[in-house]
Each structure stands twice: as structure tokens, then as C-alpha cells.
């Protein structure tokens, strides 16, 4: 099963509970902020995401699903629905910092 933090948030589900329920069926994870905002500037509790990933004993990669300005130009529906956008490298940097702080990925300095 493929878990996406943005879609989970749309359902109003606690990510820790949702991931615990999925358990060992978890095969892939997308990281995207609420309202497709950059994680760290959004409303998702990333510590709960971490708790859920740990409960599911997930050891795979987490993939950042971030829509930079170029993508928003190519897919107008995304731009219309979620107008806030950071430059792609800034967005990745902020997301990595957020995930590091939440204990999901390793600090880049390690």
C-alpha cells in the first residue's frame, strides 16, 4: 500500500493511526504538506508521521512529492488549487529540515 501524507490529511486522519493500521502492507510513502504546501510550512504533525512509520516498521525510502513552480505551470489545476510555491531547491531543503527535526530522515551532516 502506498501512503501519502497529503491525501491522508485531506481525510482528517491521524497519520500515526493510519500508518499503524496499514502496518506491514506499507510499501511506499509520499511526503507532501497539507494543501500541497512545503512540509514545515503546513499543518501536518510530522512527529505523528514518524510515530506511524515506526509503528509500521517501515524501512523504505520516503519520497518528497513537491510541486515546484515549473510543475505548477505545466499542470494549471495544481497552481489553481494550491497557489503557494517555493523554488524547488528551497522546498526540498525546508522539507528535509522538517523531516530531520521530526526524526524521519537522517541529518545530512551524518
Amino acid at each position: 500500500m502506498h501512503f501519502d501524507t497529503f491525501h491522508n490529511h485531506c481525510h482528517g486522519r491521524n497519520p500515526a493511526q493510519a500508518l499503524r493500521k496499514i502496518g506491514d502492507r506499507l510499501g511506499h510513502v509520499h511526503i507532501s504538506g497539507s494543501e500541497r504546501m512545503t512540509p514545515g510550512t503546513d499543518k501536518i504533525d510530522w512527529c505523528r508521521v514518524r510515530q506511524g512509520l515506526e509503528a509500521a516498521d517501515y524501512r523504505g525510502a520516503v519520497v518528497l512529492e513537491l510541486f515546484g513552480p515549473e510543475t505548477r505551470k505545466a499542470i494549471p489545476a495544481i497552481a489553481a488549487g494550491f497557489p503557494r510555491s517555493l523554488r524547488c531547491d528551497t522546498s526540498v531543503e525546508v522539507t528535509c529540515y522538517t523531516l530531520e527535526r521530526a526524526g524521519i530522515i537522517a541529518p545530512l551532516s551524518e
Binding site: H2, A61, A74, V92, I105
Partner: protein
């Protein structure tokens, strides 16, 4: 706080544009190397490369990608699984994505169902669709990861795959 899970991370090519062409791959390579990403995901429908297999394999080596995934709707667009022609077209499209994933060394094809769940009879149709898709995936040693967008899709997945 407990210790870090230290999971590897990756980026979707969508971070820098939808169409996966040579220019995007160059920028994506820089992005991955700069941030230490060892995973990457590219949309199969977005590939715009002269030699997609060679280009993606070269990108993975140069960017240090260890974990590649291919995303694709499990059903191209929104096929009606009750209409045989549309289901066959969707299966054919998904099979191409599975074959591509296998050729470039990816282990997963990921994505949402792309079927209009909630329409009369579609749950059964979607279940049948997934069962057939899983057969292709198993033959190619590819894992299909169904992204749930709606609670109904959880039921489809649980009924069809688990």
C-alpha cells in the same frame, strides 16, 4: 524524542516539472546530489526522452539513486472498468509502465487507482482489474503500491491484493 528512523529519502521529478526530458534530468541530478537523496520517482506518462531506459539508468548512476520507483495511474486516466475496451487499454498502459520499471531496475510501480470508485459496479470491476495487473507485476518482479485517495480504495486493495 526517540532516535531518528534515518530513512532514506528521495524526490519526485515533479518537483522540477512534469515532463521528464534531458534538461529536467540534469537539474534533478544536481538536486539529488546536493541534498543527498538516494531515491527518486518519475512518472511514466511524463517521459519525454529519446531513449528512456538508457537515460533513466544513466541518471540513476550519476545521481547515486539506489531506490527508483515509477509512478503511473493504475488505469490510464479514468477508465470505466465495466467497459471491456477501456479496461484492456488501461491494463496495456499499466503493463508498459511495469515493463519499463523492470528494464530500469525499479522495484515498484506506485500510484492511485484512477478508476471512478463509487459508480455502480466499479468496486468489482476495479478488483478484477487489479488482480490482472498483479499477475503482470509478479512476472516482472515488480511490486504494485496502490495509493489510496479515498477510503473505498482501501477496500479494493484489501480485497484484490492482500
Amino acid at each position: 524524542m526517540s532516535s531518528s528512523l534515518q530513512l532514506p529519502f528521495g524526490v519526485m521529478s515533479l518537483v522540477d516539472g512534469f515532463w521528464v526530458n534531458a534538461k529536467l534530468l540534469r537539474r534533478l541530478r544536481t538536486l539529488c546530489v546536493t541534498h543527498g537523496a538516494t531515491a527518486c520517482e518519475v512518472p511514466y506518462p511524463g517521459l519525454r526522452l529519446q531513449d528512456p531506459i538508457e537515460s533513466i539508468c544513466t541518471f540513476c548512476v550519476q545521481a547515486g539513486i539506489l531506490n527508483l520507483s515509477i509512478c503511473h495511474f493504475f488505469g490510464d486516466g479514468m477508465p470505466n472498468p465495466q467497459v471491456a475496451g477501456e479496461q484492456e487499454a488501461a491494463l496495456s498502459s499499466l503493463r508498459k509502465a511495469i515493463d519499463f520499471a523492470s528494464a530500469v531496475g525499479a522495484t515498484k510501480v506506485v500510484g492511485p487507482l484512477g478508476i471512478s470508485i463509487g459508480q455502480p459496479g466499479t468496486l468489482e470491476g476495479a478488483t478484477a482489474f487489479l488482480k490482472r495487473a498483479v499477475t503482470f507485476a509478479e512476472q516482472a518482479s515488480i511490486t504494485l503500491c496502490l495509493e489510496y485517495l479515498r477510503p473505498e480504495e482501501d477496500k479494493v486493495f484489501l480485497a484484490a491484493v492482500v
